[in-house]
Symmetry: C2
Subunit: 146 residues, 2 copies
Amino acid sequence: MLLEHWQGHRRLTRRVIESFPEDKLFNFSVGGMRPFAELAMEFLKMAEPIAHGVATGEWVSSNLQQPTTKTELLALWDQATAALNTIWPTIPPARFQQVDKAFGQWEGKGIDTILYAIDNEIHHRGQGYVYLRALGIEPPAFYDRS
Amino acid sequence: MLLEHWQGHRRLTRRVIESFPEDKLFNFSVGGMRPFAELAMEFLKMAEPIAHGVATGEWVSSNLQQPTTKTELLALWDQATAALNTIWPTIPPARFQQVDKAFGQWEGKGIDTILYAIDNEIHHRGQGYVYLRALGIEPPAFYDRS
């Protein structure tokens, strides 16, 4: 089901975070793009607030601050993993098909807003794979979501 | 619905193909990875054969040959777009939840095999965005699936 699909992708993203040497996580990129730590923060600022918004209709922007260490980033990641597991069962089934305006800006069905968050994570995580390859580091296997 | 979600992603991938200068499409990459034309061929070799396999239970590997021009690649892309639209309505609804072994190798429900194809395209297309940025080219907007 969709939560498990999402959490499988999030486990892979966690392994990508772990694959970066700590300094490169925060300061390396290609083509003037954002370092992977900033991309990961974007995922975190979307995941729990979107789950909460779809569940409740309340759209509250994240006030998470960019951490400065890999350990702190992984801790935020794990907190969001637990929060998603807690929030998900509270989503009223009808909310997935109901159109809402996420964060007052993006109109779509609940399911489409959630899929956007997942797709955005896959998209930017793929960019992290290029950063890792450019650093000579083998990225984790894409198909492994365990 | 899922076909429209997929085709929306495929329209974006088509714009990424178009964004590459012809020579860079076939010979540029970062970190020793495949050029974007090869990634696009991977998407093509998955899309129609997977739709056909989920529809029919027949798993037939693609015999598409790598084209040498952008025009040929876009023509293959448009043929696959039409093929997906033709095949999709023939998928028996129960096949989405039925477990099958795609191409005799990858076991999963029809829906999961299709999601894998979509996710794989998003993942590698994100890598194409890095190639474009490294070339100094602004990629198409990720959120625009029109």
